[in-house]
């Protein structure tokens, strides 16, 4: 009996620790007061509406959206063929490639950001947007390769030979037989990449510059000047967006199978 109680208490505390901050942010964003505070001073939706009135939020949201969508698509365009080659052919140095591709997960973002700024952006003078795009593509690539590789490893290879014998070219076999069967993995990789890119802070911090910022960086900048609950309101909206995406993914394709 006391064992059950102990388990419930531990579980409750763990959940409170994990989800608690989320509720605090939601509560703070519904405040009627002028500054970020918990418990909130009165209830109102004014700060939620305020979010949509801040120009820089709109602009940086567009930047983040662009990076998350197209950076992830670019990572998939590189990652799917790479995964295929790594899983189907005995590529010389294949393991090294796998390791290199995973590097952005292992190396701290601060270091990646600094290195990109010092050795890519400054010497070549590329635009901030190009730098951000390249960085986000590289950061998402490990997820693309890992998730898609897992799908490919679960797919038998003789169906490609069967397709070839039924008249397909090798590329046709990939397109008609392999791709439809790893579609779930590719979608899962896209969602994971999208969320990773959208929430990325340390690398974007180094690469953001005048006029071009991702949303999280813009939120930090905003808070340094204005300490009102609109940042909390924006955080809540973003959290709901992420939850919505993952929930939909789980419901429609069993997301958790791939991650």
């Amino acid at each position: 009996m006391s064992r059950t109680v102990a388990i419930v208490v531990i579980l409750g505390l763990t959940l409170a620790f994990l989800i608690g901050p989320f509720f605090i942010i939601i509560a703070a964003s519904l405040s009627a007061g002028e500054s970020l505070a918990f418990p909130p001073e009165g209830l109102s939706l004014r700060w939620v509406f305020k979010v949509f009135e801040v120009d820089s939020f709109r602009e940086s949201f567009a930047v983040s959206m662009f990076l998350a969508v197209f950076g992830t698509l670019a990572a998939l365009a590189l990652g799917v063929p790479a995964s295929y080659a790594l899983s189907r052919y005995q590529v010389r140095g294949g393991e090294t490639v796998r390791l290199l591709v995973s590097a952005p997960i292992i190396v701290p973002g601060i270091i990646v950001g600094l290195a990109l700024l010092r050795y890519l952006v400054i010497p070549t003078g590329i635009t901030i947007m190009t730098a951000l795009f390249l960085a986000h593509t590289a950061l998402v690539l490990p997820y693309a390769v890992r998730v898609v590789s897992a799908s490919l490893d679960n797919l038998r290879t003789d169906i490609e030979e069967a397709a070839v014998l039924l008249g397909c070219t090798r590329f046709g076999a990939f397109y008609k037989v392999v791709l439809p069967n790893i579609r779930g993995g590719v979608l899962a990789a896209f969602i994971l990449g999208f969320v990773t890119s959208f929430n990325q802070v340390p690398v974007s911090l180094f690469l953001s510059g005048p006029g071009v910022r991702t949303l999280p960086i813009d939120m930090i900048a905003y808070m340094e000047i204005t300490y009102d609950p609109s940042v909390a309101a924006l955080s809540s909206l973003l959290a709901f967006m992420s939850i919505g995406i993952v929930f939909a993914a789980e419901k429609f394709l069993g997301f958790s199978r791939y991650v």
Partner: protein, 317 residues
Amino acid sequence: MSDYVSLSGLTLAYGNTVAVDALDLGIEKGELVTLLGPSGCGKTTTMRAIAGLITPRAGTITIDGRDVTRVPPSRRGVGLVFQSYALFPHLNVFENVAFGLRVTGGGDLEPRVRAALQTVGLSDFSGRRPAELSGGQQQRVALARSLVMEPKVLLLDEPLSNLDARLRLEMRMELQRLQRQTGVTMVFVTHDQAEALALSDRIVVMRLGKVEQIGSPEEIYARPRTPFVADFVGFEVILPQPDGDALAWRPGGVVIGAGPHEGRVLGVSFAGERREYLIESDLGRIKADAPVDEAALAIGAAVSFDLPRENAVRVSA
């Protein structure tokens, strides 16, 4: 007589390992030829080369008078039923069978697919996914998928090995019926001599990348020419002779009870209509069968036996 499918001097290798060494083989139109041998004998490699999935190191392959050695698999007119069927998991039965016709743009898609499904007895299953079918049904889908393309040659890679014993017998008959019905030339790969004997017009026994013997099932079964083939079809008692050849007996051809040879029973096992003995003798270890109505010999018992010449086949070592 010109062969419908002809392999000449075919040499196949993986890296430095030669899997098939200068193989010559002719197959007639409408024939069912079995490549028989233990794993590693090169039978599957040979089949994959006919399909075009492996490029030969040397030699040529012709099908229906055309040299296809360098022709890609998709344009050889060859069908292959894979050991594990290789059905497309994302397509239903109908679309699996229709796949090749859609790719090659063949006309009359719907009636041809329906006809192929009817041939293998799966008309009612066209909407199912492969995962919803039994092993035997998947096998039939794989057959229909190949047959609908009207291949010149149908290759079958151990098609019965993933089925349980009863289904295997049923599928064996089914294959024979299909072959009679469609008249398609078939190359069947197996390591099971009973299957090969039951199905084939001709059997090619392979060992270590070379042909040991080619012949009708009756010839292979009754007149093996090498010790390897003899052992493979059950002549398990093989004794080298002074002239360099060897004589081979089936365990059932060894007569127990009297004779010039002496031995001791090492083991005995009951096998229904007979008892199988292992005898340690001056000729080495001998397998011998005896009818069950004779009294069983105990392990360790002394036994005399005879190896009658008329029960033996002569094989060249």
